[in-house]
Amino acid sequence: MQISRRGFLKFSGATTAGVAVGSLASLGVDLSPVVAYARDLRIKNAKVVPSVCPYCAVGCGQLVYVEKVDGEDRIINIEGDPDCPHTLGALCPKGSATIQLSINERRPTKCLYRAPGSDRWEEKPLDWMMDQVAERLKKTRDQYFIETEKGITVNRLDAVANLGSACCDNEECYIQSKLLRTLGIVYHEHQARV
């Protein structure tokens, strides 16, 4: 059985090679050229980058396959890392869908602002947004900061709260704690609490 790249993609509905091969096997089709092609397809021009699944806390090792598409690096596949000793290459349905966190037409790629009383978002430049947030944070801090209570230096800001996240990397959590504590923030929490 000969199969062209175009024909293969059409045949498999452009899903992952593994799914397509599995469903064909049940039909009794000789799969060896397809398997060989699928393997070839995946590694042909792709660079492999080690990663970690962003869903639950089992922390499954992943391999991210990146290929140049129209001159730009693009993720073409994410799968379990067979070397990962505590997962042995497995992924659950969520982990198997990781690529759709990146390649997804529903994904916002611009910053959005919603004014008081407005019924819509407005696209805004990233720098403008960062400046606005920094100003709001400073203004709120300057207005509500408590320097001393009962004669004790408390340097506390009760008017701003933060829910950081168990979705954030360690480095992101760390500098967030470092910055926000220094600004006086005490309402500082993440999902471990709920």
């Binding site: 966190l101 990146s102 168990a166």
Partner: protein
């Protein structure tokens, strides 16, 4: 988690109390592996799930009665010669004598102050010798030993009582007790592991639930041994890391307390109050001052308490938790709010309160990979955007594949991921957001001479920028967390190799002491190490990532060996004492060797007397729990709601408490919220007669941001549903697929009925009690939408940590008008 997923395969009996097969399916393969090697699996869960399908015994238990069950198991172990006597006598505080003033009467421990709704814990302490050490009777016979107190306490937890309270038939309970307790006994030959997740935490006695489970493991001698331990399964990729790095109100990185105004007014008092007299935490001053140095560098000097006042002081202990945030926000106390990778409009208990609170803000910042219900709260169903004056800033976020950094998994394993591609458009990492926000804030305060702004000016914020988006270097942030010898410039900073190198004199900087060793020199990132051992010698795979602390894979592993340092069970050796090991010229011989990094002084010999000084002061040769001041595990431990776990009913319960006259945890947190936003159903309510528990699905992730926006996952589980037993469905005239309305005093939701055999009615004290189950992943944004389950949940909390009670509450269910497909 005290152990490691890979090690589960060594267990002889596994008791799972979560739904591991569906919620941590890839980790579950080690349970399957154990089973293939002959292990028995017990599954304790109100529902029959895929975990139950692979278990040898499924034990349905009414939600909210875990302590009655675990207490029953502890009583069984103590009454049937199943405790590992020597381990219990020497490695736990079972042998310590407790103050004669301590007591327990009909559900209440000594010292309860009914007006303040809190315990005075003065009598919950050891009797002491003239030198201050605890009085001890290692025969465990003295009536004031912890062991005898426990034996009396749990004598009420009979198999008959377990049946009445939990709804577990006595014969089934005894079958489980016999099987799991077969891993204990004075001549122990087996090990057992226990698994839990949010099934135990989301209760008004969540902390005591977990303590009870851990205490059972200690009685059986299962902690620290291969195939033993406590497997805590966390829900998010980095719940462990975010906890380690203290994105939590009560902590600073590395599990050090956030200062309290009235307890810790200055550094000297902080260190005096927070540093115990024995155990490894005596080194806390070195860790704490190294943290201050990492944050404030040259501005942290001895003269200014190393910048201690740059960190805020909490007004009180009962404040600032996630539930406090939304109650206080609703009252208008909070003006600005960051929700970075979190979606409280769906994920918070009493979610209608959370959404109403967001409307009281001046400004809200949301950063997430997709639009969230929190970002879109101003146009939620039934909300008029014109009435909402909150300014909202939405920043698109990058998933792991588009940034560098580390995640710490459920077994404390720190793993690095590489940026595979640059994020698209204006999408940036959260590291980029915080770093550049910090830069802007520093610039805005650069000319301030006010005292209160000096911390911002002092803040060390010198991470090198990389690439076209000026992304801060995650590797340098990790290097700072690891720690280095303090120097103002990166080129002069020498990485610390172990936390033992941290100093209290300001010469070292370390952002999170427990992570020290992950980046031991500037070229070595052990989190990025992906070496595997295929020889079978290193089954714990120490070359893959870095597990804190010190790359230990199984904590408390000194307890895997007996009082002479020999393995309790030869086939389950982990570390042991090699008396002939050479430690170099002039040094005494002998050290701990084996298959893991010893969780102990490497040359601290078995039976050695307690160290009088040094980094392990107060720890002797047979004290495996080195973080505890006395070196032994705490069966008796004074939490705010009691030194021993006691069964109380959930705040909303279908029955009175059958074990005592005290209905609920006497110090449970129940928020008073304005406008009737936290009404509670009465005990045995006729209006809300059914027990409700909430849960998760394999195909969805928590509040759904990372799953309901993905076509593949949204298609796999499109609709919201309530799982209802055939018996209750028949009683209520509900058919499979019908639209139903589920209500609690906080709100109601509409969803489809899934009529199933997987839930069965319980018989509680002779009466039938129905329980339903609802997953909580849905909201009003995304491809797959549905009502918000957390609208049903009350604002009540565990008094130690303020987690909500979303695993056991009361509800009603009725068939709804069948138009309007959800």
């Amino acid at each position: 988690m005290t152990t490691n997923l890979i090690d589960i395969q060594n267990a002889d009996v596994i008791m799972i109390t979560s739904n591991m097969a569906e919620n941590h399916p890839v980790g579950f393969q080690w349970v399957v592996r154990a089973k293939e090697r002959g292990a028995k699996v017990i599954h304790v869960d109100p529902r029959f799930t895929r975990t139950s399908a692979l278990a040898d015994i499924h034990v349905p238990l009414r939600s909210g009665t875990n302590i009655a069950f675990f207490g029953g198991l502890m009583a069984y172990a103590m009454n049937n010669d199943k405790i590992h006597t020597e381990y219990v006598a020497h490695y736990t505080n079972a042998s310590m004598l407790i103050d004669d003033g301590f007591g327990f009467d009909d559900g209440m421990f000594t010292g309860y102050d009914g007006d303040a709704k809190r315990y005075d814990r003065t009598t919950w302490r050891y009797q002491t010798n003239p030198d201050g050490s605890p009085k001890r009777d290692t025969t465990l016979r003295h009536p004031r030993t912890v062991y005898q107190l426990m034996k009396r306490h749990y004598s009420r937890y009979t198999p008959e009582m377990v049946e009445r309270v939990c709804g577990i038939p006595k014969a089934k309970f005894l079958q489980v007790a016999e099987l799991f307790c077969s891993t204990g006994g004075p001549k122990k030959t087996k090990t057992g592991t226990v698994v839990y997740a949010l099934n135990l935490t989301q209760h008004t006695n969540g902390v005591q639930n977990i303590r009870a489970l851990a205490m059972l493991q200690l009685l059986l001698g299962n902690i620290g041994l291969p195939g033993g331990g406590v497997v805590a399964l966390r829900g998010h990729a980095n719940v462990q890391g975010a906890t380690d790095l203290a994105v939590l109100y009560q902590d600073l990185p590395g599990y050090m307390a956030m200062p309290l105004r009235d307890v810790h007014p200055d550094l000297a008092t902080y260190l005096e109050k927070e540093t115990p007299k024995g155990g490894y935490w005596i080194n806390k001053p070195a860790f704490f001052i190294s943290l201050l140095k990492a944050w404030y560098g040259d501005a942290a000097t001895k003269a200014n308490d190393f910048g201690y006042d740059f960190i805020p002081k909490r007004e009180k202990a009962d404040a600032y938790s996630q539930q406090h945030i939304f109650v206080d926000m609703y009252e208008g106390k909070i003006k600005g709010f960051f929700a970075i990778g979190q979606n409280p409009a769906v994920g918070n208990p009493n979610a209608t309160l959370a959404r109403a609170a967001l409307a009281k803000l001046d400004w809200l910042v949301v950063k997430d990979i997709f639009h969230t219900e929190t970002a879109e709260f101003w146009r939620a169903p039934g909300v008029d955007p014109k009435s909402i004056n909150t300014e909202v800033f939405f920043f698109p976020a990058a998933p792991a594949a588009e940034k560098n950094g580390t995640l710490t998994n459920t077994m404390r394993l720190i793993q690095w991921h590489n940026m595979a591609v640059e994020p698209p458009g204006d999408v940036r990492s959260d590291l980029h957001f915080w770093y550049h926000l910090g830069k802007r804030i520093k610039a805005l305060y650069a000319s301030s001479t006010a005292r209160r702004d000096q911390g911002i000016k002092a803040l060390v914020w010198d991470y090198p920028e990389e690439g076209k988006h000026a992304e801060p270097s995650a590797a340098h942030v990790l290097r700072e967390m690891n720690g280095y010898v303090w120097a103002p410039d990166w080129k002069d900073r020498v990485q610390l190799k172990s936390f033992g190198e941290c100093k209290a004199d300001g010469t070292t900087a370390a952002g999170c002491w427990i992570y020290t060793g992950v980046f031991p020199d500037e070229k070595t990132n052990r989190a990025a190490s992906r070496q595997i051992d295929k020889s079978g010698k290193d089954y714990l795979q120490h070359g893959w990532g870095f597990a804190w602390p010190a790359n230990r894979r199984i904590m408390y592993n000194r307890a895997s060996a007996d009082l002479d340092g020999k393995p309790w069970i030869e086939s389950k050796a982990l570390i042991q004492w090699d008396p002939d090991a050479d430690n170099g010229p002039g040094a005494p011989k002998g050290k701990w060797v084996g298959r893991d990094v010893p969780d102990y002084g490497p040359t601290l010999a078995p039976r050695a007397p307690k160290n009088a000084a040094g980094p392990l002061k107060g720890v002797g040769g047979n004290d495996p729990f080195i973080m505890r001041p006395d070196g032994v595990a705490g069966l008796f431990a004074p939490l705010v709601d009691g030194p021993l776990p006691e069964h109380y009913e959930p705040v909303e319960a279908p029955t009175r408490n059958l074990l005592s006259k005290q209905q609920i945890n006497p110090v449970a947190k129940i928020w008073q919220v304005a406008d009737g936003r936290n009404e509670i159903a009465e005990v045995g309510s006729s209006k809300y007669p059914y027990v409700l528990t909430t849960y998760r699905l394999t195909e969805h992730h928590l509040s759904g941001v990372m799953s309901r926006q993905l076509p593949w996952l949204a298609e796999m589980f499109k609709s919201h549903f309530a799982e209802i037993s055939e018996e209750l469905a028949k009683e209520k005239g509900i058919r499979n697929g019908d639209l139903v309305e589920v209500s609690t005093p906080r709100g109601s939701i509409k969803l489809r009925a899934m009529v199933t055999k997987r839930l069965r009615p319980f018989t509680i004290d002779g009466k039938t009690v129905h329980q339903i189950g609802i997953p909580w992943h849905w909201g009003y944004v995304g491809i797959a939408k549905g009502d918000v389950t957390n609208d049903l949940v009350a604002s009540v909390g565990d008094p130690n940590v303020y987690i909500q009670e979303s695993k056991a509450l009361l509800c009603n269910v009725e068939k709804a008008a069948q138009q309007g497909v959800a």
